[in-house]
Assembly symmetry: C2
Homo-oligomer: 214 residues x 2
Amino acid sequence: MRIGMIGTGTVGATIATKLVELAHEVKMGARAAANEKAAAWVEAAGAGASAGTFADAASFGELVFNCTAGVHSLDALAAAGEENLAGKILVDVANPLDFSRGMPPALSVCNTDSLGEQIQRAHPDARVVKALNTMNAAVMTNPVGGVVFVCGDDADAKGEVTQLLGMFGWPPERVVDLGGIDAARGTEMYLPLWLSLWGALGSPDFNIAIVGRP
Amino acid sequence: MRIGMIGTGTVGATIATKLVELAHEVKMGARAAANEKAAAWVEAAGAGASAGTFADAASFGELVFNCTAGVHSLDALAAAGEENLAGKILVDVANPLDFSRGMPPALSVCNTDSLGEQIQRAHPDARVVKALNTMNAAVMTNPVGGVVFVCGDDADAKGEVTQLLGMFGWPPERVVDLGGIDAARGTEMYLPLWLSLWGALGSPDFNIAIVGRP
């Protein structure tokens, strides 16, 4: 499959590398076509990897990942172009963490709205699936156990993302469907607890599992 | 130990019953001294159980639990009286869920503040420990596995609460200390995800465990 990657950071590079390993063609998009991080990733990832602008990546992909920093996601996806995202699955991995007022970061949107919902509203013809935003990049494509959450308004899109997550190492029984895209509020608002846990555990390479009465 | 219970709902009654079973003396406090739910609880719980006003309960307790609905907690604790809470451990189990605008509830405080911090600021001489607010009442005193979080600015208070949690069925290795009371933001902001999980799992009798690389 041809996949567009919006974002050149650690999350984008980690997922893009995994997708290339899985024999997908991936175009990594940046604000400008000439981007050092994207070029370095293409060099390292090898065959199947290419780079371009946000719009190039979105146009190229049959499926698109948003892995930008959450406070820049709406701008980056606007640059990617509504017409290049229409009808496509848009996997939103971003968290709206605002580091501008120091640590710990606050969320730039939460409680009665979420970044996932904002993206779906800004791109009504895209099929937004929020996923993978509750863990560190290294855990996304190399799971340590526990669960991964998906939510979105398009059931078929969630099904396709669940298949893709299977190839990342997440069996279907560990993919938890939380419902519509408004459930992104919950997965994004988990981030402050996740950041506290990172501090308490001394490592970001953890995840949460669900336990209950048998 | 003598324990004051602020709140007569399911959470308060569940914890108060467990405390009486553990041979503690518990006074359940309500807004008015004559409260049907508190009276019914005293009748059911038997020896060691008594009831009174919020101030009666706080005055009685060597340790006090806040199990009121979060949007009413500050009022209830003001009625309990700063002088009746001074120097005491105040275990805050409440979540600031605002059901007034329908389901799912939003949080009445979050992101850059939390109910736990508001309570600590309103009662600077109390030793506030946020705990047990990330699970259903039935799971608090009858654990299904997973972890319970504690946070607060007084390390000795967290240690005493950890001992009490041990008597509820939480061994020390499953009590995760998240740091100061500002970490209450994370455990309270987990509630929207918890509510989504309740919907996805079809039962509130679950908890989260931490998994990581060995």
